[in-house]
Assembly symmetry: C2
Homo-oligomer: 293 residues x 2
């Protein structure tokens, strides 16, 4: 697989590289952004860790690249950031563009099994088995074996899910306003039902509040921030982070879910960017990085 | 004049307040964003300085609020940030929405004299004589007598122009990729010609590279950053910061234009946010602010 470079934009001493490639998993063109910190350019013998950031409903790779404000912290510690897209685009499936919370922009990081979606909506395999290995081949100075994962909302769910399903694959995980128990909220039920069908045993394979119960990897703390003024949290009960904490109580991660409910914050990038600094420091610790003097 | 609050969004400990009001100058509703740092809430006896940020072509108050990343530095030093809109909106003037660089989103911070535009396109008076005094009345804990000004592109021009036309009104000025000599570039000629007519003596009253020649205020250094990979700089010659430096050579500001040409940076918010930190430190110095420990 070859990436084509759509743009290279200098930012905070490093560069945001906008890439595109043909995906075998989704059978579409896929966009992905990659932020390379200044260490990538200034220290040609270095091998840099990677942070994988998964975005929420409706987002492209650009939203968090512009508004999440990872760049200064990527430079402070010296890690690259990968921003994948949130679904296939233009798969020519009837209805794929009809709603913001299913289809385009809402791949939910699963491999669909329902026939209509199963050919293209393979975001789980796309990210883990195609995108990351191919980035590793193209960017040999990035260390995809020293990688952490984070994300927001649907992407916060995605980060928790990839981490808990693949013990040891990621050094640490954190999440902003994650959909923590998708089997029990409207967003999750719509996407799991639509992509995976009615059999809830299949949903459990992707639900962080189920996966945590049988997780048997390292007991690294999991950092979560959720705003108390987030209507998807307090009004719509889409996020349910307490369910994840409760589910962890009989698991190896008992006491390891570090949930911060932040007074007065909402669901937007104004919230995410306010706490990017804390999440960067969390991952830097487990990636073995020290702040630049 | 009464402001109505459209939204209050917590960000970095402070709040971004989205305001709307009926403007007598533009005879339209106008949006303005105001960032109040955490000191505003935590230190009820404080009186905080203000930074006025003027945006570029096509922008609303939201673009820089989301992508400019002033919030952490507003908190670090303790100043408020005002983000006005870039023109009247919905003035019902024929052709106002036809191009990105004239009419809506492109008020160029002048008081139009050409009849078609003169009723509404009064951004100079709107900002200086209406918006700032009315914000001062509504927010008595903000010190609009201890205020600095900055901006990007058309807003960088605006910042320089307001500063040079009103000696002593602003404690300091800085600009990101400013249109520094609008009388001699296509953007400026289109807007000055359209709003002010053919008489170039009227243009000179708004052109920083003319205003600097007769400026007689404090000789505070002026901080400017421009990217060398900015196509509006190197290809289209819209920005012409060297003309401002040259014009200053026989003026009171000789040697005081601190122009940084930044290798490889473009015209976007990826560029602005990379240097927000430096501009915040510049203004903090002249606003008498020290960094929070």
């Amino acid at each position: 697989m070859t990436f084509t470079t759509q743009a290279e934009i200098k930012s905070f001493g490093g560069k945001l590289v906008k890439l595109q490639h043909d995906s075998k998993e989704t059978k579409t063109k896929m966009d992905v952004n990659l932020y390379l910190p200044e260490q990538y350019y200034e220290q040609p013998d270095s091998k840099l860790p990677v942070l994988l950031y998964l975005s929420g409903l409706t987002c492209t790779p650009n939203n968090c690249s512009e508004k999440g404000f990872w760049q200064p912290y990527a430079n402070k510690y010296g890690f690259a950031v990968v921003y994948p897209d949130t679904s296939p685009r233009g798969a020519s499936i009837e209805g794929e563009d009809e709603s913001y919370d299913f289809g385009s922009g809402a791949g939910f990081y699963v491999d669909a099994t329902e026939e209509k979606w199963s050919k293209n909506y393979r975001m789980y395999s796309y990210i883990l088995k195609e995108l990351l290995p191919n980035l590793a081949s193209s960017y040999s100075r990035l260390d995809f074996n020293n990688m952490s994962i984070t994300g927001h909302s649907m992407g916060g769910y995605g980060a928790l899910m990839f981490y808990l399903r693949n013990p040891g694959r990621f050094k640490s995980v954190s999440a902003f306003s994650p959909i923590s128990n998708p089997s029990n909220c409207a967003w999750g039920q719509k996407c799991f039902g639509g992509y995976l069908g009615a059999d809830k045993s299949k949903w459990a394979e992707y639900d962080p509040s189920e996966l945590v119960k049988k997780y048997d990897g390292p007991d690294t703390p999991i950092l979560i921030h959720t705003g108390t003024a987030d209507p998807f949290y307090f009004r719509d009960h889409q996020l349910l982070p307490e369910n994840l904490v409760k589910a962890s109580e009989d698991s190896k991660l008992k006491g390891k879910i570090d949930l911060h409910l932040e007074e007065g914050y909402d669901h937007s990038y104004y919230f995410i960017s306010s706490f990017t600094k804390d999440h960067a420091a969390h991952h830097a610790k487990y990636l073995g990085l020290s702040p630049k003097l």
